[in-house]
């Protein structure tokens, strides 16, 4: 069959399989089979995502695949696949410790697939209304997952996430309506006026003032989901209290999806000459997030919350990069999105293992891991070094590009950026140094049962990205960077 059809099939698989699996998993009672099914479905999606590279379907009014989302889809399904593998080992341990019951696990797996479906939908959506619906769905699902443990803290985190998330969703909807209103006179009523490719084609004719207003709401709305300061409040607790696989997916994927939505609309803005430049807004939000997170990292006592704040920091860096604009900074931003999700999910895998072998997430009670659990300890060290943007890992490349290009253009902006980077680096390392090194405590030794393969694979990918990027990826990045203006 022709490439386009194949692509269409792939799209259908990407949406249908998780949806079906979600329904199916509700019925599967045995958690082992459930986990296997979960992995299988994720694998199928991954394959479908890969086939998209070979055969791109042509866009319709609802769905489309272009240079921007194609690699995000692949990334999304890849990470959710590895995460499903990780979670298969993780939940078994949770059952043993009795933190979860099989019933909850059934629910958990179903929700996992639902989340995958929502995120794929959001990435594939060619329709800004559909995009909104997908992200709202993702919010609801993750709220349920965060509250999974039913502890006070978990419920409270979920509730907070729920309220703030739905407020963000509401704001985003208002923005979406405004965009439609801006487009409707130009394109005409009905679906086309919400189809992204039509919008971007005619964006220059839109009413700029309306677009500006819309962007304010969209930035705040989807920015809430992306965890930008001061809209970030839900993020740390949601990461810290939910099951670790969910933390990995939240940090690695959902933040990306929210940011992806923001970027889509930034493209609209930059396609319209007379609209206000969205850059400064994003730069300010980015710097705020970076500096704020850097300061917050210092006092953290919970290792998952620590890395949640580090996610805020990196969202800040990425937003800053896109705010700066220009081929170099945009390229760096896209690269950073990709590498951050890989690295951060790997870190959360490691942290999950650590908190299971140590039976706690309290940093102060974890000591000298490189002695007791060399794999975990050095894995954590490698992850921290990678996320801190040190070679030989890939994040270094993006930070190199951001900082250098910024300093060449806006030295005064580069200053707070560098200060923030240094601050975050120092505070993060300050917390982790004791975890990895030093005299280990006398606690009974618990071996790592689950496979550390996902961690290794992710870190290897990030490592390779440090000195070599595949050609097509570079081509897409540069094309999208050009679109982002």
């Amino acid at each position: 069959m022709s490439g386009a059809d194949l692509g269409l099939v792939a799209m259908v698989v990407l949406l249908g399989v998780p949806a079906g699996a979600a329904l199916l998993l509700v019925l599967v009672s045995d958690y082992r089979r459930g986990a296997r099914l979960n992995v299988g479905a994720a694998l199928l999606c991954l394959l479908a995502a890969v086939t998209l590279f070979q055969a791109r379907p042509e866009a319709n009014l609802y769905l489309r695949v272009d240079d921007f989302n194609i690699y995000l889809i692949a990334l999304n399904n890849w990470v959710s696949f590895t995460t499903s593998v990780f979670s298969a080992g993780y939940i078994a341990h949770e059952l043993e410790t009795g933190r979860l019951t099989p019933a909850y696990l059934r629910f958990y797996h179903a929700m996992y697939q639902a989340l995958l479906f929502a995120m794929n939908l959001a990435l594939l959506a060619n329709n800004i209304g559909l995009l909104w619906v997908a992200i709202e769905l993702a919010t609801l699902v993750t709220v349920l997952m965060v509250g999974l443990y039913r502890t006070h803290a978990a419920l409270e985190a979920a509730w907070k996430y729920f309220i703030l998330g739905s407020l963000g969703i509401a704001l985003a909807l208002f923005g979406t309506i405004l965009v439609y209103l801006a487009a409707q006179p130009v394109i005409g009523q009905g679906l086309p006026a919400m189809a992204w490719d039509r919008l971007i084609a005619r964006a220059d004719a839109f009413d700029p003032a309306l677009l500006n207003l819309a962007f304010v709401f969209l930035l705040l709305g989807y920015g809430t989901k992306a965890g930008l300061v001061p809209l970030h409040a839900w993020l740390p607790d949601a990461h810290a209290e939910g099951p670790t696989p969910i933390s990995a997916v939240l940090s690695g994927l959902l933040l990306n999806v929210a940011l992806y939505a923001v970027l889509r609309f930034k493209m609209l803005m930059s396609a319209n000459p007379s609209a206000l430049a969205p850059g400064p807004l994003m730069v300010i939000l980015g710097l705020l997030s970076l500096l704020f997170a850097g300061l917050m990292l210092y006092r953290r006592g919970d290792i998952k919350r620590l890395f949640a704040y580090s996610s805020i920091e990196h969202m800040g860096i990425i937003t800053f990069a896109f705010g700066m604009g220009g081929p170099l900074a945009n390229f760096a931003g896209l690269l950073h999105m990709t590498l951050h999700s890989l690295t951060k999910s790997a870190i959360f895998f490691t942290v999950g293992h650590i908190s299971q072998v140590k039976g706690t997430q309290r940093i102060s009670t974890i000591r000298g891991l490189t002695v007791t659990h060399p794999t975990l300890g050095w894995g954590l060290v490698a992850g921290a070094i990678a996320i801190a943007g040190m070679p030989p890992f890939g994040v270094f490349m993006s930070e190199f590009l951001v900082v250098s290009s910024t300093f060449a253009r806006q030295p005064l902006l580069a200053l707070p950026l560098v200060v923030g980077l240094l601050l975050a680096f120092g505070t993060l390392l300050w917390r982790l140094h004791g975890v990895a090194f030093g005299q280990p405590d006398r606690a009974a030794f618990v071996p790592v049962r689950a496979s550390t393969l996902p961690v290794t694979v992710h870190l290897t990918l990030v490592l390779v990205a440090g000195f070599w990027l595949p050609e097509p990826l570079v081509a897409w990045f540069r094309h999208v960077a050009a679109l982002l203006g």
């Binding site: 619906v133 407020l167 909807l173 309306l210």
Partner: protein, 221 residues
């Protein structure tokens, strides 16, 4: 469109703003719930009118949802919650009603300021609607942040969301309006259930909330 239709639409949208102000004004929980029911009723009328004017029949569904779900089901549910959880009947405001009203007026002014010059391209009706919708949204937010009470928070959010639906209805030929309102209704249903599930006691910055903080992380080290 002819003047009458415009005037009615205008009247209904304005009515929602007034209803929002009424919400701000309440200091009794039940009264708040009743006013919210009124708010949703006005919304239903406004959306219905838009459906008639635009000849967009799917909007009738939205109107229906607003009428049945928000104007009847939710208020009843909230009534029961308040009784079940034995929540304080009086509302505790952060600032004091007067100040809130003042802020509210400011917000309305802001909304109009932001909106009016914008949508020269869109038709007048949409513009008016949009201005009022934005006002309702902002007032809803104000309600959310000035009341120390779970129920009032939910009501604030719902009134905000009413504003959104109003805007969506006002936007000519807006597709997915129904889907969106459905999606939102699900959201709200979950929030209401949430209050049940999470057993959030009456006050948000209340003592047991502080207790949760200690769960969350040792505060000062």
């Amino acid at each position: 469109m002819h003047g009458l239709a415009f005037d009615i639409a205008h009247f209904l949208a304005g009515g929602m703003v007034v209803a929002s102000f009424l919400l701000l004004y309440q200091d009794r929980l039940y009264a708040l719930i009743h006013v919210f029911a009124l708010h949703s009723l006005v919304l239903a009328l406004a959306v219905g009118w838009q459906a008639a004017v635009q000849g967009a029949h799917h909007l009738y569904i939205t109107a229906g949802i607003a009428l049945v779900f928000k104007a009847i089901v939710i208020p009843v549910a909230l009534h029961r919650i308040v009784r079940r959880l034995g929540i304080h009947r009086t509302l505790e405001t952060v600032g004091g009603v007067g100040r809130d009203m003042l802020a509210g007026t400011g917000l309305v002014a802001l909304a109009i300021l932001v909106m009016l010059p914008v949508t020269t391209a869109a038709d007048a009706l949409a513009r008016e609607d949009l201005a009022f919708a934005l006002a309702v949204v902002l007032l809803g937010l104000l309600l959310m942040v000035t009341r120390r009470n779970a129920v009032s928070l939910v009501i604030g959010f719902m009134s905000l969301e009413n504003g959104l639906v109003l805007a969506a209805a006002g936007a000519r030929g807006m597709p997915l309006a129904v889907e969106i309102s459905v999606a939102f209704s699900v959201l709200i249903a979950m929030i209401v259930i949430g209050i049940f599930l999470f057993r959030i006691r009456e006050r948000f910055d209340s003592v047991d909330m502080q207790a949760m903080d200690t769960f969350r992380e040792e505060r000062r080290r």
